[in-house]
Amino acid sequence: MVIFPLRMHGVTAHFRKKRLVGPIDITIETEGFTIVMGPNGAGKTTLLRLMHGLQRCSGGGVEWAVPQAKAREKQAYVFQSPIMMRRKVIDSIAYPLRLRGLGVSAARAKAQECAGRFGLENLLDSWAPMLSGGEKQKLSLARALVIKPDILFLDEPCANLDGRSTREIEEILLDAQASGTRIIMSTHDIGQARRLAQDVIFMYDGKIHEQTTADIFFTAPATKEAQAFINGDIVE
């Protein structure tokens, strides 16, 4: 089942009559590692939530190649602040598999195997909410990737993490992409964007100002806001 392309046409989102984003017209194809960049309040998180269906459009539409419910089964989302279920690590990773009808022992076996790939094998019986920030984010990634999603959305997954944890998470993401998972990730970190991005969506004031390859974006950005952002100037 191929869920791509994802098409957003004329999408707007409002909160109490205030426009958050839009109108947005964009198409996301099967492969790639897309980084969504922009200053605070540009609408990065809202864009990801609209794509994933966590937020309803006020106008326009989000369409996948298959019905929304089918497409949702092949997606995963990692939040900026990891949401930890009040369970052991192994049961947290196994949970998405259980939702898909897998039995307890089969789901736990798969979760154990997955945890090993994320360096969580020694924490299987730990209580998820008691983990450190980096471990929580790795657990979020393991929980998201255990279902082998076609597309993974990440909302600033490395915010508040130290260099070592950030590097580990970037390695996991590159592995996931190499295994065929399409990745769309928002970040403030220009260094991280340079390391990971194949293409970039630059947002400003709720609109997509640029959508281009990473090479072009970082060498010859088309808008002065993007140029200022890359230069590290304050973009309001």
């Binding site: 966590l54 939040f79 279920m85 949970y95 939702l99 209580w127």
Partner: protein, 234 residues
């Protein structure tokens, strides 16, 4: 002060000599209350989860009414159940009046709003934490409610214990529908009321001590079994 002293000794003597009447009353109290708590939990916990997860018209009013019913006067519940189960009542044919079953029904009606309200509060807080995650994982509404009930089980234990506390100490309703019949529907609270009325304060005090000890022991047991208040758990 003498009566209190005497009460302690009488209670102690009744306990260590395995007084048949006392133990019969204790076991009936436990049977009625535990049955009522189990039945009420089966109704109230899913109700609490339903109110937290599902959105429907008049939901706010249902929650407000449920909260108000937490203070339901037991005597009124007793009267209502009495009328329901009396021969002339709609359920009179079952012949349940003045039986432990009638007492269980009355207790269930009293504690369902209490357990449902507290569990709704706990599940609503957890739901606000889990909302995005469970929606993102494409969990069905039933799966969401199940996850919230499971992950919130320690908070729900508090709701169940609150229900147990209210039920075991209840006297008004079960006096009306049970009738406080010796060897049939006499429980600790109704026995205390009776003994106090007879001026038998020492024995009443003894029963009171047994009741309090029982309530504390069961709470402790549930906390130990439920592994609450442990540093490594939630």
């Amino acid at each position: 002060m003498n009566s209190m002293h005497q009460g302690f000794w009488d209670a102690w003597e009744l306990i260590i000599t395995f007084d048949r009447d006392l133990y019969e009353i204790v076991f009936l109290s436990l049977k009625v209350t535990v049955s009522a708590v189990i039945l009420a939990s089966l109704i109230a916990l899913p109700l609490g989860a339903f109110l937290a997860v599902f959105r429907f018209k008049f939901r706010r009013y249902v929650i407000a009414v449920l909260n108000a019913l937490m203070g339901l006067p037991p005597v009124v519940v007793g009267l209502f159940v009495y009328m329901l189960l009396s021969r002339a009542g709609p359920l009179g044919g079952f012949g349940l009046l003045f039986s432990p079953s009638a007492m269980i029904i009355a207790q269930v009606i009293i504690i369902v709003p209490l357990i449902a309200s507290i569990s709704h509060q706990a599940i609503r807080d957890l739901w606000s934490e889990y909302h995005d995650l469970l929606i993102s994982m494409n969990a069905t509404r039933f799966q969401r409610a199940k996850a919230l009930l499971w992950d919130g089980k320690r908070a729900l234990l508090t709701a169940i214990l609150a229900g147990f506390g209210r039920a075991i100490g209840e006297v008004g309703a079960i006096m009306i529908v049970g009738g406080n019949i010796e060897h049939a529907t006499r429980v600790l609270t109704t026995a205390i009321a009776l003994e106090t009325g007879k001026g038998n304060f020492a024995f009443a005090m003894g029963l009171g001590l047994v009741l309090i000890t029982l309530a504390i022991l069961i709470n402790l047991l549930i906390h130990i079994v439920g592994k609450t208040e442990r540093a490594s758990t939630w």
